[in-house]
Amino acid sequence: MGVVIGPRVIDAGASLLSVLIAPVAVAAGFPSPAQDYFDGRIDLNAHLIKDITSTFVVRVTGDSMEGAGISDGDELIVNRALEPKDGSVVIAVLDGELTIKRLRITPSGVVLQAENPKYPDIRVPALSELTVWGVATRCLHHV
């Protein structure tokens, strides 16, 4: 299995993936004295999760966000506590489904945009009428 990001939830017996990596970029051929201070592994949870109580991982199905570099099958890190702003990539509730869109808040109204010309914009009468489930903060894109 991959990175266990379910906050504080650990499958007994499974270990968190940690990445063993040198903490500094090293110029080729010149050993860095900083190497001596290497003292641990990068903990992805610590870097990717601001607040473990409000952070969830979701999986994308569909190609409507290709233009934002978010593809079918990618995982997103979503913070439910963040205030959605103009330009945020949000998980909105549309017809009872969790749907990913780019939120645009303009003087002429609120628009949910896809990042793929195949999909039309969705106009929302007011921000208050939109249920934003969470704001995506990172995309774990499969390369």
Partner: protein, 432 residues
């Protein structure tokens, strides 16, 4: 019953619980369930254990067997879900951690409720209650109600009022409700609605002419003690505003075992907490065995001392056990999953374990004796190595090894994905 003005600055108790917890946890990840009648079923899809308000409105009662409801589900638009304890355990851990940020004194009372020590004037307390409600909704996506009062019993009562009377907006503070309104609400509430008073006691109280909570408040505590017990007298005193129910440390309920202790001197090292959790793991195991139960999900938590001026922390972790178990070694190992969140130097004053997804021991074949023998031959590390390389569930001993076989004794035909604990069951978001 009337509160002197000075009470307002005394520490008070906030009781916070999640509305229809299991149903709300399901809705947090599946918005299509919003507004629909929804029930969550007991182990083996036996009967309804949680009902959404819409399901209550259909007349469905807690304990109604599913086979009786199923034929009418379609006509009612009723959705039933098998219990998903890993999801509930994680949501619970998130809620408790958030509550810990709002008070230095937190007592996790059950999977979906907690008592918090709070201070302030009426305005500040109401404001705190609303902040708690809003924060939990925003962070975790589940609704809570808050009752604030001088005693635990009254705080629970206020929470009930907050839930049932929309006028309170989900937050009810005892001292902010006028005496006249309180009296009329108490007179409308029957005694069995009070925390700790069950059916048999209700009948005995009724014989004495005590039917409503107001009757009980006005009863003579000494008479109550002589006719019933000290416990019942405490309830009367609590209803009159005198705190006398202390922090509880061990409870076994219908579907959970909670085991927590405050330390006589704070523990300030990871090693110290490792020891504490090991002891609790063994004690919890003994409690489970005594009740003939095994658990599938374990939550471990710790808390720093609320009475000292230093950094506060409320780490908690929810662990899905590889199989239903009461094995002290497995429980201890699972409890140790809390340790990476524990920091040397903080003064921990309390730790605890909560075991959920309980089931009778008889359902489980005795795997442990075999496992021990295999351990000696070094098969354990080999299994772990294979699991690490090829994924959990790729290899294992007997039934315990196969992913779909884990719950072979348990019928859970309508379980939603374990959205927050399993990488292959993440919530799906539509990009269309």
């Amino acid at each position: 019953m009337p509160k002197p003005a000075v009470m307002r600055q005394m520490p008070q108790i906030a009781h916070v619980d999640v509305n229809c917890f299991y149903a709300s946890a399901e809705r947090a990840f599946d918005p299509s369930l919003e507004g629909r009648p929804l029930i969550v079923l007991s182990n083996n899809d036996g009967c309804a254990v949680t009902r959404s308000p819409e399901a209550k409105a259909l007349g469905i009662k807690t304990g109604d067997p599913w086979f009786k409801l199923a034929p009418r589900a379609k006509e009612w638009g009723l959705v039933a879900k098998s219990s998903n304890y890993e999801l509930y355990g994680d949501i619970s851990a998130r809620v408790m951690e958030l509550l810990g940020r709002h008070s230095a004194w937190l007592e996790v009372y059950s999977i979906d409720e907690a008592f918090l020590g709070v201070k302030g004037d009426a305005e500040q307390l109401l404001d705190l209650g609303r902040r708690i409600k809003e924060t939990v909704r925003r962070h975790v996506g589940v609704p809570v109600c808050v009752g604030i009062a001088p005693t635990k019993t009254l705080a629970k009562l206020c929470n009930k009022w907050a839930k049932n009377n929309p006028a309170f907006g989900g937050v009810c503070h005892w001292d902010s409700v006028s005496a006249a309104v309180r009296e009329s609400l108490l007179a409308r509430l029957s005694v069995e609605e009070i925390w700790g008073i069950a059916g048999r006691l209700t009948r005995r109280l009724n014989v004495l002419g005590i039917f409503t909570v107001l009757d009980l408040v006005n009863a003579d505590p000494v008479v109550i003690r002589d006719k019933f017990s000290v416990v019942m007298m405490r309830t009367v005193l609590e209803l009159r505003g005198t705190p006398c129910i202390p922090m509880e440390e061990e409870r076994i309920g219908r579907d959970q075992l909670i085991f927590s202790r405050s330390f006589s001197t704070p523990v300030a090292t990871v090693e110290g907490l490792r020891q504490v959790l090991s002891i609790y793991g063994q004690q919890a195991s003994a409690r489970l065995s005594k009740h003939g139960l095994q658990a599938k999900v374990l939550t471990a938590f710790a808390a720093t001392s609320p009475f000292r001026h230093h950094e506060q922390a409320y780490p908690s972790v929810c662990v899905s056990l590889p199989m239903p178990t009461a094995d002290p070694l497995l429980l201890t190992k699972a409890a140790h999953a809390l340790l990476p969140q524990v920091r040397d130097g903080l003064q921990y004053a309390k730790a605890g374990l909560m075991l959920t997804d309980l089931r009778p021991t008889a359902n489980q074949p005795p795997l442990e004796p075999f496992e021990n023998r295999h351990e000696e031959r070094g098969i354990g590390p080999l299994l772990e190595d294979v699991s690490r390389r090829f994924g959990r569930g790729s290899i294992g001993l007997g039934h315990a090894g196969i992913r779909t076989g884990l719950d072979w004794t348990m019928k859970r035909g309508m379980q939603s994905p374990r959205y927050t604990t399993h990488w292959d069951e993440l919530p799906l978001v539509k990009a269309a």
